[in-house]
Amino acid sequence: MRKERPKISVIIPLYQHWELTEILFSALEKQTLPKMCWECFIVDNGSDAVPAQESLPDFVKLLECPQPGSYAARNKALQDATGELLVFTDADCRPNADWLETLWKTYQSLSSPTLIAGGVTVQRSDKLKPNRIVVYDMAMGLPQAKYASRGYAVTANLSIPRAVFDKVGEFDGKRFSGGDAEFCQRAGQAGIPLVYIPSANVDHPARNSWEELTVKLRRVKGGQVRSGPAKRRLKYIIKTFIPPVWAFWFAINNKKVSHAQKPIVILIQTGLWITEMAITFKLLVNGKMERR
């Protein structure tokens, strides 16, 4: 069978946690869209140990990007990718079997270049007992629908036509965090719309420890406080010190958790706010950036 030019290039940056790829690869293996229609790049972002190309499934191409930061890694793959539609996800995600097929159909049905935000469902792992952190993350983690309504999406499940990159440029490779929102904003300003297609879903494992929650917070805050224009940074700094009333409201009206679980969510949200203020303060004084 002659392999035609792939229609889709899937791009996944990876730092250290190669053990996660077992689930990811088996989910990609099961895609209903024929393999000849897509290619997949894993961009290693400076892990201590990296598998050889020969030890990876046939549909995976290994790239290396020594420059730290997942957005630099994604940009690296843009140079090698040949697909019309660039599909981004993360190494800890498990795409549904019809993920690529749904994205491709959506892409074809759109008359002008459009960003496609797919669904992200935070799932608890079957192996571990759900604790309070898991409950919190299932309720509040990665609210792609909320993001999409504001015109952006997380790279856990975001598809971008090549034409959009040609028009607005690549991701901001210097960022460790928030490069997805920044890119979507740039695209929005150029008049490129975003659609949200929840059925093109990937599952994302719920975090289950306080440390995991705060690692992300640190990374996000680093992105907000340390990069971008001064005005934007100031906005984020001020925002940090305002109580997260909106998040409380979102938690109370959240349908993903039971009524009994809502106080837990609010309690953890409050703890996170306090931590967030402390982190921001530290970053302003002189902290290190978190890239995990």
Partner: protein, 265 residues
């Protein structure tokens, strides 16, 4: 792709000469549900290329490469992290297994729910000349193991269903000993099969110098890794030193004293 039951970890550093034989002995196993994780510790000879070649020939062989030379502990830990199997086995890139090693050992481990097991082994020199056979006790606990390390790295297998995924302490030497001790802190006993199922390659070199170094690493392991008190460290170190020299110099006496084990005839 089927999930392997046993993950075999092999750190490789400039092992071009010996690795092919090691891998061949794994591929000749009568037991087939394994994956072999070759972790290249940034070799400067053709080891990495050779490993990749092996991976493309046999999908059960997985090649990893460390970005920079990190030592055997780092290499083995990278392999453990990636391992998919329930059982974690080790074989160094200069050792070999008997064809039935995995079948015999895994069967025993399953039947008896052994968390950690080891076997007797045969030592060879680099010319392939048989030096001696080293027997093992039927079982060993934490305190016994502190006195003598009976567990040869290339003979050991542990069950992640019982003890979880345990990594090696990142020491320069004796990391394997450190791992067995770590496992024996969470489970009471490790079990031995007193049958030589592994061939060990003994590198010739300045033996007395090596022994001094080994002794110093042992001391560090007691003090820093196991955090034993000075008194306890001295106690176990005395055991280690006296038992070691008895086993070496007067194996017959050591056997009578029950600190040296022979293989059944």
């Amino acid at each position: 792709m089927t999930v392997p039951e046993v993950s075999i970890i092999t750190p490789c550093y400039n092992a071009m000469e010996t690795l092919p034989k090691t891998v061949a002995s794994v591929r000749q196993q009568s037991y087939a549900h394994w994956e072999l994780i070759l972790v290249d510790d940034h070799s400067s000879d053709g080891t990495y290329q050779h490993a990749r070649q092996l991976s493309s020939e046999d999908p059960r062989i997985i090649t990893l490469r460390l970005k920079q030379n990190g030592g055997a502990a780092k290499a083995r830990n990278a392999g453990i992290k990636q391992a998919k199997g329930r059982y974690i086995a080790f074989i160094d890139a200069d050792d070999c297994w008997e064809p039935d090693k995995l079948m015999r050992q895994i069967a025993e481990m399953k039947k008896n729910q052994w968390p950690l097991s080891y076997t007797a082994y045969t030592r060879f020199d680099s010319q392939g000349k048989l030096l001696n056979k080293v027997g093992v006790p039927q079982e060993v606990n934490y305190r016994q193991l502190l006195k003598t390390n009976y567990i040869g790295c290339s003979t050991a297998i542990y069950d992640t269903d019982i003890v979880g995924k345990v990594s090696m302490p990142e020491l320069r030497k004796r990391q394997d000993y450190g791992l067995w001790l770590k496992i024996l802190r969470s489970t009471p006993t490790a079990y031995g099969i007193n049958e030589s199922l592994t061939h060990y390659l003994v590198h010739t070199g300045s033996l007395s110098a090596n022994k001094k170094k080994a002794a110093s690493y042992n001391w560090q392991l007691y003090r820093q890794q196991e955090k034993l008190s000075l008194f306890k460290s001295l106690y176990y170190f005395a055991h280690y030193a006296i038992r070691g020299s008895l086993r070496n110099k007067l194996p017959k006496l050591a056997t009578v004293l029950g600190i040296h084990y022979r293989l059944p005839k």
